[in-house]
Each structure stands twice: as C-alpha cells, then as structure tokens.
Symmetry: C2
DNA sequence: GCGCTGCATTACAGCGCTGTAAATCGAGTG
DNA sequence: CACTCGATTTACAGCGCTGTAATGCAGCGC
C-alpha cells in the first residue's frame, strides 16, 4: 500500500495538515518541523495522490490540447513540446483531434467530455467568433494559429507570420532571385504570411505581381503540385524562386518543378514554412521558417494558467528563425541541418 | 454548480447508490426505476466526476503511452490512433517521450511520476529483460515493437515483421527485379524484417547474397544515404531494387540513388516500411508496408485492460498491408494514394 | 500578571463517488 | 397467513487530500 499523508504525519509526529503544508510549500512552517516532515516523506517514499488532490480542489489536473490532426508533422512536433512544458506546470495533457471540424472544436469548448478540464489549448480551423463568445467563461482557453489570431477574440499565442513571410522572401531576394512566386492555400488562409511576402518585394522596390500569388485551394502537397503544374503547363515562364505558406506546399511545388525538368534550387529556389520534421531525407532538403515551438508551448501554458474570466484577452508572440537548407543553398550543403 | 449524484437521486426519488448503479450499468435495477433515473440524469445534465470516481476506485483513469519521440511520424500517427481507441476504454492517455533511453523507459515503469497510472503502453528501445522482471507487477504493461517482441517477456502487440518483409520483397521480385538489396539499421534492429527479405529470395530460388544486406548503423535518412552512397561510390554495380527496414532509410536511399543519376523506380525500385504520413509530397512517393495502426492501438488497450498479475504474457498480432506507390509503380501512377 | 498579537499547528468537514452490508419488497410456498 | 428467498434498494463508511476555523503558544507592553 502506498503511504498516505496520515502515514507521513504519524511518522513525523505532526498533523496531516502540516505535512500537506510542507508538500505544498505553504508558509508558516517552522524550519525544524519542515525538515522532520521531509525526512519522513523521504523515508516512506510518499507521493501525493493526484486524484484526491484534484477532488479536494475541484480541479482535474488535465488540460486539453486540440489540433486538427495529431499525425500532421507540424502538430505532432508541437504536441511533443507541449508535453515537455506541461510537466513543469503539473498538468497532464489530453490530446484531441478535431479534424478541423467546427462541431468537434465546439464540442470541446462546451464540455461534452466527462472529465472536467482545467483548460484548453486549441489550434482552431472551423470555430467562429460567436462560438468563442458563447463558451463557458470558467473554462480557460488559449488559441493558436493564424486564423484564431485574425478573427477570434480570445487569448492567443503565435509567431509574427507577416514578419516571418517577409524574412523568408528576403532570403530569396538576397540570393539574387527576382521572379518570386507565392503559393498559399487561398484567401483567408495564411494571408499574413503572404502579406509578409508582399512587404519584402515592396521594400526591395520590386513591386508585387499578384499574378504570381497562386491559391492552391488546399493545403496538401498535391494541391500545390497541381496548381503550379497547371500554371507551368499553361506556358507561363517559370519563376526563379517560390515562397510557400507551408512545407507541404513547398514539397508539392518541388515535385511539380522537378517533374518538368527544372532544378531546385539552381533554376528555382524554394522556401517553405513550419519546419516539419521529415529529417534530412527529402531531396532537396527544405529551407523553411521554423517557429519556436518550445516558446509557443510555454507561452500557451502560462496564458492558460494566468487566465481570469472577464479580463481582456492577451496576445503573446513567440520567436521564429529561418533555417537554410538545400532548396535554397544548393544540394549537398550542410547548412541548417537539424540537431 | 454541476449536478452531483445526490442531486440526481433527489430528483428521481431514489438513493444515490441506485443512480450510481444505473450510471455504471449494474444489474438488478428495475426497468421502471432505471427510466426514472435516466430521465433525471437527462434533465439535470448530469456527468460523472472522474476524479471522484477514480478516488473511490483507487484508479487514476490515466494510462501512459511512451515512445522514443512523439514527433517521429510513425509514432505520431500511432499516437493519434491510440487516442481514438482509448476513448472507448474510458482512458485518458498521457504521452511520454523516452528518447529511447533506458533510464527514461525504466523511470516510467518504476513510477517516478506523481500520478498513479492504470497502465503503460510502451515502444521500448533500451529496456532490458531484467528491467521487465523487476518492474511493479501491479502496473499493467504492454510493449510494442520488434525489439520487445524478440527479447522481452511481457504482453506484446505487433505485426508479423518477417511476413511483412517477405511480402515487400516479393513485390519487388514480381516486378522482375533480381538484384534486390536490403538496408537495415544493423544487427539486432529490424532483423525479422530482413529475415522476411531472405525468405522471399530463398522461396524464389534466388539465394541470399549477404553482401547485399547493408547495415546503415543508424535509423536516420542520412545513415542510409551515406551507407548506400559509399557502397555505390566504391564501384559496386547498382542493384535493381532495394528493400529498406524503414521509410526513413528508403528516403535516404533514394537521395543517394538520385544524386548519382539513377532513376527511381526505372533503374532501382524501392520499398520502405512503416507508411509514415508524409502525404504524397515526396518525389517519388514511397511504396511501403503499412501496419494497421488502429488494430495495434486497439489490441494494446485490450491487452492492458485484461492483464492480470502472475499470468503468462500474451502476444497479439495486428494485420498489415502493402501500399504500392511511385517508388515501385512508376512516377505519376496514382495507385495506393492516401485517402 | 494580564490581555493581545501573530506565527505555527491542528481538528474537522467535506470534495463526489463506489463497495459492502444491511434493509426492504414481493412473489411463491406450505 | 407466516415464512423463505431472490430481487431491488438503501445507508454509510471511506478513498486521500485541502480549505477553514480554531487552538496553542511565545513574546510584548503596560
């Protein structure tokens, strides 16, 4: 049988509550008493019973982390960091997959699940501003992602997508490229990243050719492959660089280019976005914008913990970096390798 | 305030315990009483409090799912399925990352974590047979993966790696390939998959050339790229097909081939293993062995639930399938596309 | 010496649920 | 009609912990 608070109390010759106070770092415990209690805890190998603590506190010790799909590399790697960071906050993280469907996201907010949650961190796709308003204000919520940043009035953590798009495009310009295309799922998705692309072109005095901003109509690699492929097959001259709103789109774009005899990066340099972990196994490896996932995770949890009903939503910004690999630096370069 | 069992009891005019019995589907509740209670539950919107239930039952309602790294696509996609399936079992899944380090894996078994666990599903890399023996027998454990299958005496769930390796190699032979190479991390890792490769060659009357079985010394794409690259650069004639023990190795091998002017699959067909979800964005997309992850998840949880201390370990087998894509069927084929 | 102050500690009532033992009910039996 | 025996329902004691209120106690001023 595991030792309980009363066992420790007996061993240390104090009351159960004093042991509780020591365990929880409460003030007003004499140093000598504390030492005696700690010795007893150590001797018995006592560990607090979380279920009982949560029951007594009316908390569950569980937060939800909801993403469209956990097996999408970007979310998987973010989830991994969320797990690491949550430990320091004493939270168990319950992952959820919403498929990006509004009903699934809403269901989480409206507590269809039996276990009471202490909070939710979500990367929403379908949620509307009204949904946010109607949610239970007692359930802390932190949102991630560009869609949430633009349209939803709640605590938010993310990177400066516009600035990141600018930096990525600047990188292409610094390589001497002048015909820079942009590929994004479409209006309303990843707009800020594309605005950053426009910023960079404008700042370089090149002007923005909106005909070079192609909507893929979807975020899968195939969507980009088809969109760019059709465009090239229609006889348009190939650009000398492409900035894509996600790595998947970049990989699809590279397929379209290579299948048509164009070399990456010699003929066309490509920069992606997200830094999804596909090792260094693709050809070429991808230059990309890498959001600081550790920061995103940590800031989210802090915001969740500090949230109070009725106060104004906070918006926190995590840093990012540009990781230069083969798709802009050339095949065989070792720059920017992972680890 | 959330309604409690007593609130429902009062509303239905029965005792708290009867409501509890209804909620838990116990026998010996008169149908009329059950209906009355269900109506009250529905009216009040009652949901059981998990923390309290767990406290009363001495359980935590939490199981751990431990993998080396959650951001490795194979594990991420398995974790996603584990999540789906655990819901039906009423378990919250707490993910853990061990990095494949023995200490981290052992720490999980020996309960360093404050929250009591109802069980552990783990994909171990460093764990030894002694570690398994010395673990707390009261903590149900289910292991995944080939290493565990071969060396560790505990409940195990996995696919028939040897048969899968045979099927994959057979596929290459059925394409008319005769010089089939095998790439695996090294002795002791993924041996069964390579044994399946040997089976296929032997059954086809070709005999096994052990010089064509290359150990990569690691499981990253770069390891395969370097190993195969060095081998080709040493002047060996290229094989006309390669079977690799994992998709990462396959992608690295393809890099090595393409960088040396060889075409995949025209010159060299490649089959990987694991079906990691990298969409259809790589060039070429990869023919691979796809383990049935849903089955693996479900069988693991069943085994965990049904485990009793002191009984013989059970070994369960999940199905797999061969997904044929471009790396054997040719660029532009649509066969085996995801979704 | 007395009352007061403030730190240190304790007693105790739950948190919401389940397991156990006991109570109650109702039909069948003699 | 009392009695037996399942079927059904209830009472109640915790599960291990924390919040609150109360208590103990030393030092201080008068």
């Amino acid at each position: 049988m595991r030792p309980r608070l009363t066992d420790v109390a007996e061993a240390a010759g104090v009351s159960m509550k004093t042991v509780s106070n020591v365990v929880n770092g409460a003030e007003h415990v004499r140093e000598e008493t504390r030492q005696r209690v700690l010795a007893a805890i150590d001797k018995l190998g006592y560990r607090p019973n979380i279920a009982a603590r949560n029951l007594a506190q009316g908390r569950s010790g569980v937060i939800a982390f909801a993403v469209p799909q956990l097996d999408r590399p970007y979310f998987a790697s973010l989830a991994a960091r969320m797990l690491d960071e949550a430990e320091a906050f004493g939270w168990i993280v319950q992952f959820h997959q919403t498929g990006g469907r509004r009903e699934a996201e809403l269901a989480l907010l409206t507590e269809r699940h039996p276990a009471r949650l202490d909070g939710i961190v979500m990367s929403p796709l379908g949620l509307t501003a009204e949904d946010i308003q109607e949610r239970d204000p007692a359930l802390p919520l932190v949102l991630l992602g560009e869609k949430a940043a633009a349209q939803l009035n709640a605590d938010h953590v993310g990177i400066d997508n516009r600035e990141a798009g600018r930096v990525a495009t600047d990188h292409l310009l610094s390589l001497g490229r002048r015909q820079v295309m942009a590929l994004a799922p479409g209006p309303g998705m990843d707009d800020e990243r594309i605005n950053g692309y426009r910023d960079a072109l404008t700042a370089a005095g090149l002007g923005v050719d909106e005909d070079l901003v192609l909507p893929t109509g979807g975020l899968r690699g195939q969507d980009a492959e088809r969109t760019l492929g059709d465009w090239l097959d229609a006889g348009h001259p190939a650009p000398d660089a492409i900035f894509t709103a996600t790595d998947w789109l970049a990989m699809g774009a590279i397929r379209a280019l290579v299948l048509r005899g164009l070399r990456v990066p010699e003929d066309v340099a490509v920069v992606g976005f997200d830094d999804i972990p596909y090792d260094l196994a693709t050809l070429p490896t991808l230059t990309t914008v890498a959001p600081d996932r550790v920061a995103i995770a940590r800031l989210s949890l802090q915001a969740l913990r500090d949230q109070r009903p009725g106060t104004e939503p906070v918006r926190l910004e995590a840093p990012f970096s540009l990781v230069v690999r083969e798709s802009t630096a050339g095949i065989g370069t070792s720059a920017g390798q992972r680890e």
